[in-house]
Symmetry: C2
Subunit: 376 residues, 2 copies
């Protein structure tokens, strides 16, 4: 079957786009293979011819994205295959996070392995955005040097922040006291990071992306993270849904009890008042019910088959589970047809940094042609 490629892009397609797509296809096929596939196996899996796959693989090997494994896995007769695998010495993603009481950096290589992890505990609130980002920049520079000492090349960085992000601008991060901060710009100002592509995103979004890497099977799920606020990251078919302006996932302010407790946002009965970190710590009896009501809304609306509880929810998972599931059974219209699956997050407090690093390396995985061009 041939691809349709009728994506909504208004850009023309040339032959080089074909190559770019097929390079990505080969790379992801190798990445998703359990064992080390041969060129022939990749050809069979993708539908491309062996000749084409050979040419593509040669480019990817030359560009340092794939490696040929000498002791190839054998079976039956015939010329022995050459195993292919993602290289662990090529490009790497640099994940960064800035939060209320710590700064963190994380380096992930193309295989998804965490190669470096640096954390500095310190209250960020007394600092200006510029000061905090300068300090984070120093941490990032150290991580980059460390990574390069390991033979890695940092291809790009992504920054996780607890706030609303639009067009690379942190519009507002209440818990940090930030407003309209050009975080990527300030980071790139650090000499050791000059020229590095830097993106910013909401921490819940990136944590969801981190969970995706670990999750394996489910490409569509809602990740809900309880930190100071409650945020959610929605992954639809392996891609983050960010909303039109990047302001999606504000599940903490879903109304669960319309005339309930007043919330700092000005409304009444927000989920955050019943299942926020303080409520959880206080063993608030309504937490599970409130979560169940809010999550049922998400499922009714979006038909999300899996919900992952992360952040501060993860440690309370077993306690909350029954209550949430009871509400889901009652309130989800299609619960009878297929129950919603509830899971605790596999990653802990470092989900967001980890996800940020994944997001950065993902750019290379999704568009290897761009990397090959850069690498020359």
């Amino acid at each position: 079957m041939t691809a349709r490629l009728t994506s909504k892009s208004t850009a023309p397609v040339r032959q080089s786009s074909v190559r770019a797509h097929n390079l990505a296809l080969v790379l992801s096929t190798v990445a998703n293979s359990a064992d080390r596939p041969s060129r022939a196996a990749v050809a069979a899996a993708t539908g491309l011819t062996r000749a084409t796959v050979s040419a593509l693989v040669d480019d990817l090997v030359a560009g340092g994205l794939l490696t040929e494994l000498d002791p190839a896995p054998r079976t039956g007769a015939g010329r022995p295959a050459i195993g292919l695998a993602l290289t662990s010495a090529g490009p790497a993603g640099l994940g960064l996070e800035i939060n209320v009481d710590y700064r963190a950096a994380c380096v992930v290589d193309l295989t998804g392995a965490v190669r470096r992890r640096l954390v500095e505990h310190a209250d960020q609130r007394p600092l200006t955005a510029g000061e905090a980002l300068a300090a984070l920049g120093r941490l990032a520079a150290r991580a980059r040097l460390d990574a390069e000492a390991d033979g890695l090349t940092v291809a790009g960085a992504a920054l996780a922040v607890p706030g609303l992000v639009t067009d690379g601008l942190v519009r507002v991060a209440p818990n940090l006291g930030w407003q309209d901060v050009d975080a990527p710009g300030l980071l790139r100002a650090v000499p050791e990071l000059a020229g590095l592509p830097v993106t910013v995103d909401n921490e819940a979004n990136l944590a969801a992306l981190g969970e995706l890497r670990v999750t394996g099977g489910d490409p569509t799920f809602l990740y809900i993270s309880g930190e100071i606020g409650i945020g959610a990251g929605l992954v639809l078919d392996g891609d983050l849904y960010r909303g039109v302006r990047g302001w999606s996932g504000e599940i903490g302010h879903l109304t669960v009890f319309p005339d309930g407790r007043p919330c700092r946002c000005g409304a009444h009965g927000c989920l955050e008042q019943y299942a926020g970190q303080e409520a959880l710590a206080a063993d608030e009896p309504l937490a599970a019910k409130a979560l169940g009501i809010a999550l049922a809304a998400v499922v009714n609306l979006l038909d999300v088959p899996v919900i992952v509880l992360g952040g501060a929810f993860a440690p309370h998972f077993e306690r909350l589970r029954a209550g949430i599931e009871a509400e889901l059974r009652r309130r989800v219209l299609t619960a009878g047809l297929a129950p919603v699956r509830l899971r605790a997050a596999a990653l802990g407090a470092d989900a967001a940094v980890r996800g940020a690093a994944d997001a950065a390396i993902r750019e290379v995985r999704d568009d290897p042609a761009a990397w090959l061009r850069r690498a020359g």
Copy 2:
């Protein structure tokens, strides 16, 4: 700028895919141009060369999708341009709808003009699914013949039903008394419809798609329709989001008052109990508040900038507006940054049939290469 084409498809890309994409690109560029663009204008708009555009346009003209307009719009010096426009005599989409008290068919041509509209009022509930679909099939056959008399060729059909749809199967349509009905199969059994590609979808989804065509500017919005139940269709960036199993948009069973009135679904406090057709007719005082709470949830979750009230809500729009907007202002976290826009639907009761016809003709617009292959 070149397209990346790194869609998640696991299919290989060949040169023919490039042509398919660029054919669609040219067609949609012509469709979205206010005036009749020349080949040169299309080239400038798309980034393709004039030579390529000429070749593509020739194919589209030969295949009966575009027409050259003799009196081209003139300006300044130089050889006069040949205007291009979608043909109104080529392929057409056949929209079908079956609902509690009527059957309907609708033919829309490539330009989006409604060319035929047939409605039969009759209670469908006493009929079996087979009987109802046979009757609808006769209506569809008539619409098809009428369309062909007008020089149109029906390219495909889409059917709107008030129920849950998965993989072309109507899993359950409570108000019709249907369960696990292979509606496309039964329709194709009608001799005059043999060989026609038929799809099924939920009525709210298709109504949303119908509204998209009329709406013009906003490619992302939530359409909410109050019929017997309350359904919603979510259009993200011009495409319908159907959920993983096609069960999205069940907004009628969002919880608005957790311990409120019992609902036929077994839960308590569902939106439907406060803003359903009966509640609206009875001038239920809580309708606007309930709608506001539910819609605020959607916006917080998905960052949808526009909400369209359709179906039974449209006539009550002015009465409900202030109440809904007040709740949105209170409960949407980002309301201060950019208010949610609320609109009454432009289409009336025929939104779903109309949307179904649009969905059918959309297939041709999105993949003209397939049509050209079929047309020979």
